[in-house]
């Protein structure tokens, strides 16, 4: 079993929920922002000491939900402050970006880190399409074309041109090229059935977050596996990464308390305005090719908001408790879903950073020694 430490870099200072999307930035305090970046980067660097295999970051826009508008900037810092941990960019929101730029920046991270990049090629959540004013209904086809182009950027031995539907580049030759050959490991989201099929088609690793129901997750994993097999990849547990909000404390009660507080802030302050934007995009566009997936997406967010910590533990939606309890939860989920990776997000909402550190230490000292051998 392998583990990734994931950070959203949330803004922790809100006292009132944003009224609408996008969240007003009038209360943003740059001095506090600097402190948070320093703390968060230190925490991510600490993940290497704690035995995590990867440290992961991602991209969000126009929201206190996450201060990482370009995870490659953080990835770049981590290339210089870590030595061996995998750097998982989970990832760039490809349909919103210039794919050539993504190929270049990812190649830089890979070379600067000595070949440690895991390249997340992600479609993103619906509201990001409002932020960058990209037609949500084009997201899947933009992603499909951009992925093909990015792989060409990494693998073509000579300059080439690209004449596509969304992208036209008459002459391309990126410097640097990635260190990993033929290219870095690609990871794609498989959080719904459409995405799972897509990730399999690309023989990518699959990643899934916000698991509300193990049976639905199981279904996505099965679709991913079938799709991957149909495209020449026999998937193993190492191809399956599951994202979990995680809180490990000395006692179950303490962990439940911290997670409950963090989740309360997360849903009340960080997700508040996002939910409205998500709903608008899902209702007003063909972001999901099939309507049912859009409905499921919206209801999944609502479910996660409404559940108690106990309900979430029971449903297999979070990892929470003492090291012994979390080990049991890890075994249960692995047993049911067959994943080889957990992607642990420990800074949920405004959980204090000291609590996050303690959670990481307990992971290192009491969870990992047994879990690594699973």
């Amino acid at each position: 079993m392998k583990f990734s430490f994931f950070h959203l870099m949330p803004w922790t200072e809100l006292t009132e929920p944003p009224e609408q999307w996008p969240a007003s930035n009038k209360t943003f305090d740059a001095k506090r922002g600097k402190e948070l970046y320093d703390t968060y980067i230190d925490t991510m660097v600490f993940a290497e000491e704690c035995g995590f295999d990867w440290v992961g970051c991602n991209e969000h826009h126009f929201s206190p939900y996450g201060l990482m508008t370009n995870c490659n900037l953080i990835g770049s810092v981590l290339t210089q402050r870590t030595q061996k941990i995998g750097l998982a960019m989970l990832g760039n929101l490809i349909p919103l970006l210039n794919p050539i730029r993504v190929a270049e920046e990812y190649a830089m991270i890979d070379v600067m880190s000595g070949g440690r990049l895991i390249a997340g090629l992600i479609r993103g959540v619906p509201h990001e399409y409002i932020a960058y004013n990209v037609v949500p209904g084009e997201s899947r086809e933009r992603l499909r074309e951009a992925v093909a182009l990015i792989i060409k950027c990494w693998t073509e031995p000579e300059p080439f041109g690209w004449e596509g539907e969304f992208y036209q580049y008459p002459s391309v030759s990126i410097w640097p090229k990635p260190m990993q050959r033929p290219h870095p490991q690609i990871l794609m989201s498989a959080s719904n059935e459409e995405s799972a099929e897509f990730a399999g088609q690309h023989r990518a690793m699959m990643g899934m977050t916000l698991i509300a129901d193990l049976k639905v997750a199981q279904r996505c994993i099965e679709i991913y596996k079938q799709s991957a097999r149909g495209h020449g990849l026999e998937p193993t547990p190492d191809h399956i990464l599951l994202g979990y909000n995680t809180c490990i404390a000395d006692t179950d009660e303490e962990a439940r308390h911290h997670l409950a507080e963090g989740q309360r802030y997360f849903h009340k302050f960080l997700m508040h305005s996002i939910r409205d934007a998500q709903r608008l995009v899902v209702q007003q566009s063909r972001f999901f090719a099939q309507e049912q997936y859009g409905e499921r997406f919206v209801s999944r967010l609502a479910t996660l908001n409404e559940r108690s910590i106990d309900d979430m533990i029971e449903a297999g939606s979070v990892l929470c408790g003492s090291p012994k309890t979390v080990l049991k939860q890890i075994k249960r989920i692995k047993g049911e879903l067959g994943n080889g990776w957990f992607n642990m997000n420990m800074k949920i909402g405004n959980i204090p950073d000291a609590v996050v550190r303690r959670s990481m230490e307990l992971f290192r000292d009491e969870v990992l020694p047994e879990a690594a051998g699973l």
């Binding site: 031995p157 000579e158 080439f160 041109g161 690209w162 004449e163 596509g164 008459p170 002459s171």
Partner: protein, 261 residues
């Protein structure tokens, strides 16, 4: 779209049928093993080019020319066609089998080829890599067309296919890699655009494409996204946009203009 008119010309080796249409500078189009087919891409290009599409001897039921027996001979025939039908050097665009002829044309008659566009050209492929399966029409179509609904529907094409593929064998003798031509690629003077579908499997880029790119001095390789071997049918707008820009602006085609935007 301009109408294309069928014409016939007498060359020293025998008669050659050809289609002519469009307006503007001459563009010679050399057909694939399937024979001459008026693709949507050619129709689009004919808005700014006068297109000449000769039917090579033996294709579409036309008589063979006894003294035209191999690929260099076909190139000589194409040169004679340019001189007699067009009257001066011109741009040349060629598909697959036609690309093999066009390469020899550019090697043997450099003065007649101004700019060269080669769409997945044959003649540079290692035997056993790529190609079309002879007895599996479903797999054949999959390798030819990434967008099957855009495959040509004209029943005359299908009717002529068997005879045309037989004609190909007469010129190539079953070879797929022309060693003499490969050695001669550095002699090509014309600026060359190599066009491949992003789903090309018949003339794999990793094999033939690399030989062409490294062998032809002034060459540029471009991918047409979501196209297989028959790029002119799979993605006509993309082919016409790319080839049109290349033919009109030469090396400056890499500079984006307001028209492209």
């Amino acid at each position: 779209m301009p109408d294309f008119v069928e014409q016939k010309i007498e060359l020293s080796t025998g008669p050659v049928h050809f289609l002519k249409g469009g307006a503007g500078p001459a563009l010679l189009h050399l057909h694939s093993a399937a024979g001459p087919r008026l693709s949507p891409a050619i129709e689009m290009l004919s808005a700014k080019h006068t297109i000449y599409m000769p039917t090579m001897p033996g294709f579409n039921g036309t008589p063979a020319h006894p003294n035209v027996t191999n690929m260099p001979d076909l190139a000589d025939l194409a040169a004679a066609f340019i001189q007699k039908a067009i009257g001066k050097g011109c741009d040349v665009m060629a598909e697959s089998f036609g690309g093999w002829t066009a390469l020899w044309l550019a090697v043997k008659h450099p003065e007649l080829v101004e700019q060269l566009v080669l769409e997945a050209p044959a003649g540079m492929r290692t035997k056993g890599i790529g190609g079309l399966p002879p007895n599996d029409p479903v797999e054949r179509d999959r390798r030819l067309y990434a967008v099957p609904e855009r495959a040509p529907k004209d029943p005359r094409y299908e009717a002529a296919a068997a005879g045309n593929f037989k004609a190909v064998g007469g010129y190539t003798d079953g070879e797929t890699l022309d060693a003499a031509l490969l050695e001669s690629l550095p002699k090509i003077k014309a600026r060359t655009l190599l066009v491949f579908g992003s789903k090309e499997e018949v003339v794999p880029v990793e094999d033939a494409g690399r030989r062409l790119k490294s062998g032809i001095p002034h060459s540029h390789l471009s991918y047409i996204y979501n196209a297989a071997h028959a790029v002119e049918f799979d993605q006509p707008e993309r082919v016409a946009r790319l080839v049109g820009a290349f033919l009109e602006r030469g090396e400056a085609f890499v500079v984006r203009t307001a028209e492209v935007a």
